[in-house]
Symmetry: C2
Subunit: 345 residues, 2 copies
């Protein structure tokens, strides 16, 4: 079970039984647009505020994931969820209607990894047949929370990233499959074989608009720790996906890893560089937010693993730990990253 | 393992090996003052801002808990921590120096219950010998976060509660004891035998200054669910401690439970009514905050269980789920409560 310093490997391996993802208009125009389960063109999802829209997305993502597996919310033992907003209100107001006992999380943009890790730990321990991991972010609510309300039309530096309007929910379970409406057995083909829980890594950077740079050292530490704990290197993975380092963070990650003797050149991809057409969609350094890694995992990575195109993937969502208060008081922006080992089965 | 709808009972029972708590000047003058491990009289703990002071408290509480058990931070497998501030920065900046792989949590004032539940789940599953659960709150940072900066000297309604300046850390482990400096075996006498994970409960209340009323229905639901899941009633516990319902919340809780056929009159205590002398210290309806239940548990409840004065206690920290954005946008203030069953051993 316990692997090395920070990791766990699971003997009763949990499956990702199903997943659902929901996103907005800009994501719909990106490379993953057609693969996303549910799109809303006005980014409000029937709500009146950005925050309520984000809540709506979380609920919808959960309902889609549950629907695919033909499960009711009451069949889920515990929900692990979080978002970027102060006091996690997108999650609170979003999943309230599902009435699933819940653990609220905060790990900035690493939260999808945190939620998957805790869900897998609970399923592998026999604490329930199904757990739900859900995260979200919304461009409108995130700009208001961390920077300026959209109405200000402020200019963003080129190192800034574009917060994904989206949510992803993942049903983690002991059972490999479920019966479809037609009575057919549908099997999950993705299992979570291990996790590497991240530490807070602080290189002292203070530029809250350059989050890729702030998070890259944490991603490097978690990836290296995963290699050490499991006795692996980059060659043992088809791909290593970070959450939202963007272009600047990616180049820093590759440099750090190169200096430590690991070449990730052909193995590394970043969800923030997959979800948008970076130049054409004018997202500066790339996508970001709790929804970035979650939507990319649900719509792009899991289907590839399920088909067997990729046999083993390391999924490493990355978070920049800060608030308007912390950076205005002069604190640096530390990072954290959690690693999830996903395998075809 | 699985008990009823929302609970778990542990076969490999985790122990609370040690705990540490830190608080400020007002708490020092309260009934628990002399029982608190570490007091700082200017409430700044050597820092320059309320937020940094809160971080300092979290770090100190962890160090005290680890010190009592003669453990280094590196011997702790995972840390589960949270606070009330936006994006959990008190935790991030506080526990960074310990370099323990961590899960950031948000459950408002229920977070100490959430952290203890997840720590117990991880220890009982064999995911590591020691987990650390830590939470904090600070009157200065909480007023600034949720209401007004202290310099405004705004008036508070009588139903308002006073946020505790304090932090509590709990070392949860598989091992019952440790060797003291003198080479003596010291045993823990408190074990976590079960948990009841809370749901979000929303009675539609919108008064963010009356948090006791907002949280009481959630406390009632979790207590009742605990009774049902474990086949118990109030008579099976020496005491049931809620986190910070205060005077108004307590009377609502007792009413709700009475209406449901449970009398908690002689069994219920509230940490928010224990930590201060309510009238004399002018805290209006009582204490509150992530630190309230944590400091009371560490300094008052655990020692009584350890001595065997109480054999079985239900500890139910309660949280009011809201932010300045959610209540300014007209949302109600739902509550959540997690139950932890603590037994003498």
């Amino acid at each position: 079970m316990i692997k090395g310093k920070q990791s766990l490997s699971f003997t009763r391996t949990p499956y990702i039984v199903s997943s659902g993802c929901v996103a907005g208009s800009k994501e719909a125009k990106g490379p993953l647009g057609k693969k996303i389960d549910l799109i809303n063109q006005d980014d409000l999802f029937g709500a009146k505020t950005w925050e309520a829209a984000e809540s709506e997305m979380q609920k919808e993502a959960c309902i889609v994931a549950l629907g695919k597996a033909h499960l009711e919310p009451s069949e889920v033992r515990y929900l692990y969820g979080g978002d970027l907003l102060r006091q996690g209100i997108a999650t609170t107001m979003g999943i309230e209607a599902l009435q699933i006992p819940m653990f609220g999380l905060y790990g900035a943009c690493s939260t999808s990894g945190e939620a998957l890790a805790l869900s897998a730990m609970a399923v592998a321990a026999g604490y329930g047949s199904y757990m739900l991991a859900v995260t979200s972010s919304h461009f409108g609510s995130a700009e208001k929370e961390f920077r300026f309300p959209l109405g200000y039309a402020n200019q963003r530096p080129l190192c800034a990233q574009w917060t994904v309007t989206g949510s992803g929910a993942f049903l983690v379970g002991t059972e490999r499959g479920y019966l479809s409406d037609e009575g057919e057995q549908r099997n999950s083909h993705v299992k979570i074989t291990g996790i590497t829980v991240g530490k807070i890594v602080d290189y002292g950077l203070k530029d809250s608009q350059n989050m890729g740079a702030c998070m890259a050292p944490a991603a490097a530490d978690t990836i290296q720790q995963n290699f050490e704990d499991f006795g692996r290197d980059a060659g043992d993975y088809d791909y290593i996906f970070t959450g939202d380092l963007g272009q600047i963070g990616q180049s820093i990650l590759l440099d750090i890893m190169e200096n430590r003797g690991y070449s990730l050149q052909d193995k590394h991809q970043d969800c923030g560089l997959i979800i948008y057409r970076r130049i054409k969609q004018d997202v500066h350094a790339g996508g970001s937010g709790c929804g970035c890694a979650a939507v990319t995992l649900s719509s792009y990575i899991l289907p590839k693993i399920a088909k067997g195109e990729w046999r083993r993937v390391l999924f490493v969502p990355t978070g920049a730990l800060m608030s308007t208060v912390s950076y205005n008081e002069g604190d640096s922006v530390p990072g954290i990253a959690h690693g999830i080992v996903l395998e075809h089965c």
